[in-house]
């Protein structure tokens, strides 16, 4: 059986594509580079939108990337069930593209913050979290200036009641996110966005002092193999 193929999208200004590819490879899948200007998903089984400062984060984070030619392909595919993970800038892009509800705004502390953050996994039914235990606490790096999740009260109520809050900050909210929300999913559970960086927590030698990020990639592999 050939390895699962996970597409890694690079926009101008994307930074974590190399880390994302490494994390995918370490999990045993094939990392397939996807270029923002191509209208081609290259037949991948899942897509990872990594972090960075696409288009310099100018205007609003993710606002310009959302209109990339590749997104014209990705948006309908994601709506059709293709597993998609967006971290940091990738999460911002998913919200701007309305694949996930709400928006990410300036940190309440008004500063960029880079730190190792405790996070609680609240939903283990998604394509990207099925290998975690419900309520499990993990440590992942966060590094962002605009990660404060906001949505109107009705949207928040729906997210909570449907169990679509996938991750919550534990041990202190770093950015003022409503409900301590660190990550959410869509109704179908195939699209997940979060501010923390699992791809920076997969190796002993580098990155965060944990390898908890591996769970995201073993999850998607398991999901793809069982699919």
């Amino acid at each position: 059986m050939s390895a699962a193929r996970v597409g890694i999208v690079t926009f101008p200004g994307t930074l974590d594509d190399q880390d994302a590819a490494r994390a995918v490879r370490l999990a045993g899948a094939e990392a397939v580079p996807l270029w923002h200007a191509d209208r081609d998903l290259r037949g991948v089984d899942a897509v990872f939108l990594p972090g960075g400062f696409s288009y310099g984060d100018y205007l609003r984070c993710g606002a310009i990337s959302r209109f990339a030619p590749l997104m014209d392909e990705l948006i309908p595919a994601a709506r059709g069930g293709l597993p998609v993970l967006g971290t940091c800038n990738g999460f911002q892009i998913l919200c701007e593209a309305h694949l996930l509800p709400g928006a990410l705004t300036r940190n309440a502390g008004l500063h960029y913050v880079c730190r190792d953050q405790r996070i609680r996994v609240e939903n283990t039914d998604t394509a990207w979290t099925c290998e975690f235990a419900p309520g499990q606490e993990i440590v992942l790096p966060i590094k962002h200036g605009e990660g404060r999740y906001v949505a109107d009260a009705a949207t928040l109520a729906v997210l909570e009641s449907e169990g679509r809050v996938v991750f919550r900050y534990a041990g202190g909210n770093p950015n003022g996110s409503l409900g301590d929300i660190a990550g959410i999913t869509n109704e179908a559970g195939n699209i997940v966005g979060l501010m923390p960086h699992p791809e920076h927590a997969v190796e002993e030698l580098t990155g965060a002092p944990s390898v908890d990020g591996r769970g995201f990639f073993t999850s998607i592999l398991k999901r793809l193999v069982n699919a």
Partner: protein, 81 residues
């Protein structure tokens, strides 16, 4: 050649930490008399042609799709004389 202004502000129900920080700093700088501050964005667009109805309808589309995120922001458009 006309200039059109698009003002984008966070919706009133969305917390504006920048505005709040400014409002908090004012008394420390010796300014009283300001009860609230909100910070938004202002875009100045130079049009190639006149700001006629067609152009303004285009600007409205730009504002809706790109300049503002209507999930959290409102916008208003005006032509600069």
């Amino acid at each position: 050649m006309a200039r059109v202004i698009v003002d984008v502000m966070l919706k009133p129900e969305i917390l504006d930490p920048q505005g709040r920080a400014i409002a908090g700093a004012l008394p420390r700088l010796g300014f009283s008399g300001v009860s609230a501050v909100r910070q938004g964005k202002r875009f100045e667009l130079e049009l190639d042609g006149p700001a006629d109805e067609a152009a303004l309808s285009d600007v409205r589309k730009m504002a809706e799709t790109l300049l503002a995120n209507t999930v959290i922001e409102d916008f208003s458009i005006k032509v600069e004389e």
